[in-house]
């Protein structure tokens, strides 16, 4: 939807010249000779033209001070992340000489991950309709069968017994109807009371309108759910009055209301207000739209991939989407089209009128300071309730941070994050906690345990052999004398505005940080990706801990985006600083304090690849000595491959 405002007073449709000439010339001038009259007139016209050009240009700057050319950058930087595009554009568009980096196939083929889900080739984006059925976890995804960029979207499909070892299946749905001719887009699954599955998904019609369609397994007795049938009465929902034809997508899993109806929500926008529409249904074929919204937040733009689900206040298991009650809070999550950030907020759901109120409106969904599942590259995420093990599982789309030329050359683009369990942090009650699913441990091979004490300004190689597929679990402690020193030293100013992005990355040294690991590093550290803690004095003399990943020196290549990601992580009294890192070729996932703050990064080294990849431990603090106690596992490949009948006979590897 166009959102520009006309600055100029476009009023009269008549020829302005003919109208004004007779009206505007004052009587006194009519007595002058025509020639002089015309000369004066054209001279004034020229001046007016000149002045008008200046005035309108200046006027626009004044009126739209916040919306001038830097606004395209400022929106993203408000969110606190060096957005891919801005980084790249500002770095490469100026006249500084940029050495081109010719990617060769050796470097590119190293980038493919070993244990993250990705199709055999081409482009993937949003996770779709995840579910567990008849012994298999199903995963569907937005897929381009023809290219390594977005387009021609269909639903890819894969199954797994354990969320880790995936088997590729044939494409589940293609754009073969008028109501999804231009794209079979994102959707979600719901289990009905009788255990049958309904799938709601967005179709882009032959006229480019976004509508919601119903599909279901053609053969419910097929555990692989190979074939899907589309409801003959599709679409079941079209954009309602007041909603743009292209602002209506990504229906959620339905939940039961207290009256026994099913309820879904769909993200959209009205002008710049992000909203979530709400509908009730009994049969998934006809719907009643509520006049009110589930929620809305001004100035957040279009809400994509909305997700809505309950979390237990007291227990660390997942809850079915329909669960409600006093022991429960509800989470709203949305993917912000403007900033490509997934935000969530915790609040209270009122079933009687289908509304939701955040616990903390100052960090409401979509506000730049609102909580995120992940402070790195992570978008279009979606959860599902895993009734097999009683968990809520989160999928997230991890796009590339490199150039499309490289994607085309390597033949693929995007991976999925390792599925994570999601629960409310029962200690803080203010945020969620995510953790890679337990099943990933089945990939652990040999391990080495380390206990090291490292003084200020030290970098130590960690000898683990191969360092491209690792699972690292670490605990850090800052030597107490140094901490006391820090507290007693009143001259140390509270680092109010400290953040990973603005702090200068891992090389900016403070009294108590940064310290952590450098992954995907080469021997000489010419390429490295530090994942670290930085402890500073926050408000009221309390220690504030930030968890970051610095990709700014991750590669010599200049055609990739290299942001510094991260955020504050709550560290409660008595807790040690803990981090977990999964390294899998071009993806690094970091988890601090058991998953209170998570960071996913894409990294494209040119030298620190294959046997040359190393792991380091570092402490760049000025004053503090740090003890690190950690274990590093070599991780096996998940050997993701096309399904074959032999796979049915293979026992689960968990």
């Amino acid at each position: 939807m166009a959102s520009t405002e006309a600055l100029l007073p476009v009023t009269s449709r008549q020829d302005p010249l003919s109208e004004s000439r007779s009206d505007q010339i004052p009587e006194t001038r009519r007595r002058r000779p025509i020639k002089v009259h015309l000369a004066v007139y054209s001279g004034l016209l020229l001046i007016a033209l000149y002045v008008a050009l200046i005035v309108t240009h200046d006027g626009s700057t004044a009126q739209h001070g916040a919306k001038d050319e830097s606004s395209t950058e400022s929106r993203a930087s408000l969110a606190g992340v060096s957005e891919k595009s801005n980084d790249r554009v500002s770095r490469l568009s100026d006249d500084r000489k940029v050495e081109a980096f010719p990617w060769n196939n050796t470097m590119l083929s190293w980038q493919r991950t070993a244990f993250h889900f990705q199709p055999e080739k081409n482009w993937m984006n949003d996770p779709n309709g995840p579910l567990f059925y008849k012994g298999w976890y199903h995963f569907f995804y937005q897929y381009n069968p023809n290219a390594a960029v977005w387009g021609d979207i269909v639903w890819g499909h894969a199954v797994s017994k354990d969320l880790i070892h995936w088997l590729y299946l044939p494409i589940a749905m293609v754009p073969d109807q008028w109501y999804d001719a231009n794209g079979v887009w994102t959707g979600s699954a719901t289990f009905l009371d009788d255990g049958s599955i309904v799938m709601l998904y967005t179709g882009s019609t032959d006229k480019f309108v976004q509508v919601q369609n119903l599909a279901y397994p053609e053969d419910p007795s097929d555990p692989l759910l190979l074939k899907w049938a589309k409801f003959s009465g599709n679409p079941v929902l079209v954009p309602p009055p007041g909603i743009g034809a292209k602002d209506f997508r990504d229906p959620t899993t339905a939940w039961k209301t207290s009256t026994g109806k099913w309820r879904i929500t769909i993200g959209s926008k009205i002008n710049r207000t992000g909203i979530s529409l709400i509908y009730d249904t009994t049969d998934f074929k006809t719907y009643e739209k509520h006049d009110t919204l589930l929620h809305q937040v001004p100035n957040t733009g279009m809400w994509e991939c909305v997700d809505f689900y309950p979390v237990s206040k007291t227990q660390v298991n997942g809850l079915d989407t329909s669960v409600n009650g006093p022991g429960v809070k509800h989470v709203i999550k949305a993917s912000m089209d403007d900033t490509r950030i997934d935000h969530y907020a915790i609040g209270t759901y009122y079933d009687s009128n289908g509304t939701w109120v955040p616990d903390n409106p100052s960090i409401d969904v979509g506000i730049s300071t609102a909580l995120r599942y992940d402070y790195g590259k992570f978008y279009a995420s979606k959860t599902f309730y895993d009734q097999n093990k009683g968990r809520r599982i989160l999928w997230g789309w991890i796009g590339e941070s490199d150039s499309e030329a490289a994607d085309v050359q390597k033949g693929w683009s995007s991976v999925q994050g390792i599925p994570r369990t999601v629960v409310l942090d029962t200690r803080t009650r203010k945020n969620l906690v995510q953790w890679p699913v337990e099943e990933i441990k089945s990939l652990r091979l040999s391990s080495k345990k380390f206990d090291m004490t490292i003084g200020p300004g030290t970098v130590v190689p960690v000898d683990v052999g191969s360092a491209t597929q690792l699972d690292i679990e670490a605990e850090f402690e800052i030597k107490t004398e140094d901490l006391k020193l820090f507290f007693d030293d009143d001259s140390v100013e509270a680092d109010k505005k400290f953040s990973c992005e603005t702090s200068g990355g891992s090389t900016a040294r403070g009294a108590l940080g940064p310290f952590g690991f450098s992954v995907l590093a080469d021997e000489s550290l010419s390429e490295q990706t530090p994942v670290y803690f930085y402890v500073t004095k926050g408000k009221h003399s309390k220690l504030k801990t930030v968890f970051c990943t610095d990709t700014s020196r991750s590669t010599m290549a200049n055609d990739v985006v290299k942001p510094i990601y991260g955020s504050f992580v709550p560290v409660l009294k008595g807790e040690k600083l803990t981090m977990r890192i999964l390294v899998d070729h071009s993806i690094v996932e970091g988890f601090a304090q058991g998953g209170r703050t998570c960071i996913t990064s894409r990294v494209y080294p040119t030298k620190a690849i294959y046997g040359a990849t190393k792991l380091f431990l570092f402490n760049n603090a000025i004053d503090a000595t740090v003890t690190a106690s950690f274990k590093v596992w070599q991780m096996n490949s998940a050997f993701i491959h096309p399904y074959s009948p032999d796979d049915l006979g293979v026992p689960s590897r968990t």
Binding site: E5, V10, P26, A48, E69, P102, W150, N182, S204
Partner: protein, 162 residues
């Protein structure tokens, strides 16, 4: 003074043809005059909505990429010592034509402009990388600079669709 204001009003109305949103749209981009001249040079410009303006500019990107590729091909014979850089440029500009442009056109037409933004940004990146392969100025410098500028302007317009 009143006469001046009136004259300015007349001039403004002259500058804006019926229903055209080119000028107000271009004011929100990093290069107003480039934006206006590109859009005015296309007959669809004056009656296009924001999506339409974005698509016109993507067409310009396509045209410029084609032109640049032709230039690159011609340079192999004239400047054989530049082969390596030309190879890289050829790859990068083919990406613009075969990946970025189709992606952007499809995304904007279908109302998921963020993928269009990605494609448009990438066009600028590929041009920069191509230029970076030469030591300083090259026979392609003004073409790559043009691509970067058009990419920036187009991106600003695509962002209005988000």
């Amino acid at each position: 003074m009143k006469m001046m204001k009136v004259m300015m009003l007349i001039v403004m109305m002259m500058m804006v043809s019926e229903g055209s949103i080119i000028e107000p749209t271009c004011k929100e981009t990093p290069d107003f005059s480039l934006c206006v001249s590109l859009l005015n040079s296309d007959p669809r410009g004056s009656s296009a909505d924001t999506s339409g303006l974005a698509l016109i500019l993507i067409d310009k990107i396509k045209g410029l990429a084609t032109k640049t590729l032709n230039e690159i091909n011609g340079l192999y014979k004239k400047r054989p010592e530049l082969k390596r850089a030309l190879d890289e440029c050829s790859r990068r500009y083919k990406t613009i034509l075969n990946a970025d442009v189709p992606e952007a056109i499809e995304a904007i037409s279908k109302g998921v402009p963020k993928f269009g933004e990605d494609g448009v940004i990438d066009a600028g990146v590929e041009a920069s990388v191509c230029q970076g392969g030469f030591n300083g100025r090259s026979p392609l410098t003004s073409l790559t600079k043009s691509m970067q500028k058009i990419s920036n302007v187009t991106r600003a317009i695509v962002r209005m669709l988000l």
